[in-house]
């Protein structure tokens, strides 16, 4: 046996490591430099003081967090707390509506001819390929005063005269549902496609009632897809900026608008950074909880974006 052999084994291992570095390091570094470092800078900014021109600087302080918690010159105000709760509430409502609206559609697509299915999925997805500003603009046109929808709402006494359906919380919910519906249809469709139909037939035999068969045999099988969809919908919905900005008024502001406001108009970067941290923390907690739920539902690692 050549004595160099053991050495060459070691060099093989090094070659593999070098290959790993050569392939993944450029992209990984890119993400580190242009997302991780900026995020860390943002974190540090939250502990700085706001300068006279809205620029962050020394000394370090917790002012931003105090302000975020609602303590200002005029004592405590619950405004930010309301904004956070409103964001969570809007996310839950919109996600729930998306689930209810998508579930039958995903099922319906699987019952159609196999050659039609890709076209149908595409038909659902295409609107989400257009720019979200344009989509939202379309709804602004539809919900404006003196449009058929607004007139109908006035006729029913839902809104006062000469008013439109937007700006309002209702419009924000509508915008969120509209934006994220396709994100739910795709994973649900994938779950329905994999559905074991013999189980359903067995369940119909066993339980007689179609409702009970559904809850016993169908729903559990689609749960992993449903949870994947919930992650895909709830995470971006919670962080949404465009829809509440255009369709909601001051009283339907979500946390994204609170953050953005500190960097566009009001210019208090440490305060904005602290709000961004809160938003990030809430998002990560949400994902963590949904993953826990997913694992318990037997979805395992299926929650893939």
């Amino acid at each position: 046996m050549p004595p160099s052999f053991e050495v060459s084994r070691r060099s093989l291992k090094w070659r593999e490591t070098r290959h790993l570095l050569l392939t993944t390091a450029p992209g990984a570094l890119w993400i580190v430099i242009f997302l991780v470092l900026p995020s860390l800078y943002l974190v540090s900014m939250a502990f700085m003081t706001n300068g006279p021109y809205g620029q962050p600087g020394m000394p370090l302080s917790l002012d931003a967090f105090r302000q975020l918690a609602g303590f200002g010159f005029l004592g405590w105000s619950p405004g930010n707390l309301y904004t956070l709760l409103r964001s969570i509430w809007q996310t839950i409502v919109a996600t729930g509506l998306v689930v209810v609206l998508s579930y039958p559609i995903a099922y319906y697509i699987t019952t159609c001819r196999a050659s039609l299915r890709p076209i149908m999925l595409l038909a659902v997805v295409v609107p989400s390929w257009t720019n979200q500003v344009i989509r939202t603009f379309g709804w602004m046109n539809l919900l404006a005063p003196e449009t058929p929808l607004s007139d109908a709402a006035q006729f029913l006494g839902l809104i006062p005269e000469h008013m439109g359906l937007f700006p309002s919380s209702f419009a924000v919910t509508l915008g969120l549902v509209y934006n994220f519906l396709p994100f739910m249809v795709l994973p649900l469709y994938a779950a329905f496609e994999k559905l074991d139909t013999t189980l359903i037939e067995a369940a119909i035999d066993l339980y007689a009632s179609p409702m009970r068969a559904f809850w016993a045999a169908v729903f559990p099988q689609t749960l992993p897809g449903l949870l994947a969809g919930v992650v895909l919908v709830a995470v971006p919905a919670f962080g949404m900026y465009v829809v509440p900005e255009l369709l909601g008024g001051g009283r339907s502001m979500m946390i994204g608008n609170l953050v953005a406001g500190q960097f566009t108009g009001a210019s208090n970067w440490p305060y904005g950074a602290a709000a961004a941290l809160l938003m990030l923390a809430a998002t990560l907690i949400g994902i963590f909880l949904l993953r826990r739920l997913g694992k318990r539902a037997g979805g395992g690692e299926e929650v893939v974006i």
Partner: protein, 271 residues
């Protein structure tokens, strides 16, 4: 009997939902051909807003910026993302948890946090070094960052779908590492590269928030221009330019349908 009724009801619901999905787009398209400046009353058909559009230098330069941004960021993202996708596949038996977390980070990061983090970071770097002044350059850097993960995941899943012995077969048939990359790996994942490029392009065109925060006064993209116009009070050309963007998306959808028809294994991607 009962089953048939359910199916019919679902069929009706399907058309109602499609109506809901396409209504806002249809309104934009319809009013782009309106002869008067109104979002409520359609008077008669006219192309006047399209003529106005062509004469509007700001819109034309915004369109140009959008295309440059989407093109260049997609090319870089496909390059870097494909490398990561290959690395992830080739070394999938190692513990690459840190890398996976890093790749998912741009996807789960709320756009608004992403945007302001990059904006403040670029401003700070600019103050220190003079580099990265607001404009197309920093915008491309940010767009590449959020496109890389999607490319990497698409390419990775294509690799997973390949028979692993194909790699052995290429080696066995005298292909050196370079020839292997060129004559086997690239052609074998070509469908994934194409769909990754298109997805990156769509993500870039679709992005508003991150562009908004990293752009400078001279680098407005179409969504930023439209946003500004909406905020200032509607200027009517918006319907026209939005209609053109919708048309571009529908053409892209038809192309992707024709491509997937030929290759049934690539499902449409959403965002």
């Amino acid at each position: 009997m009962k089953r048939g009724a359910l199916k019919r009801a679902l069929g009706i619901y399907w058309w109602v939902l499609l109506f809901f999905l396409y209504l806002p787009l249809a309104v934009v398209v319809l009013f782009s051909f309106n002869s008067i400046n109104s979002a409520a009353i359609f008077e008669s058909f006219s192309l006047r807003w399209y003529y106005r559009l062509l004469a509007n230098d700001q819109i034309m330069s915004a369109l140009w910026h959008s295309i440059v941004l989407a093109m260049s960021s997609s090319v870089i993202a496909v390059l870097l993302g494909t490398l990561i996708g290959y690395g992830l596949y080739r070394h999938r038996r190692r513990g690459l948890g840190w890398l996976i977390v890093l790749i998912y980070l741009p996807i789960v990061m709320p756009d608004i946090v992403f945007g302001i983090a990059d904006m403040t970071f670029f401003v700070r770097i600019n103050a220190l070094t003079g580099w990265l002044a607001p404009g197309l350059g920093p915008m491309i850097l940010s767009h590449v960052t959020f496109e890389i993960p999607f490319v990497a995941l698409i390419v990775y899943s294509r690799f997973v779908g390949l028979d692993p012995t194909l790699f052995d077969a290429a080696k066995d048939l005298y292909a050196s590492p370079v020839k292997r990359a060129w004559h086997f790996i690239v052609p074998a994942i070509k469908p994934a590269l194409i769909s990754a490029f298109f997805l990156s392009f769509t993500l870039s065109i679709d992005d508003f928030v991150i562009s908004f925060f990293t752009s400078g006064p001279e680098s407005s993209t179409l969504p930023i221009y439209i946003w500004g116009a909406i905020r200032k009070g509607v200027t009517p050309e918006i319907n026209a330019i939005a209609t053109l963007m919708i048309a571009a998306v529908i053409v892209a959808a038809i192309i992707s349908l024709l491509v997937t028809r030929r290759r049934p294994q690539t499902p449409p991607e959403g965002r």
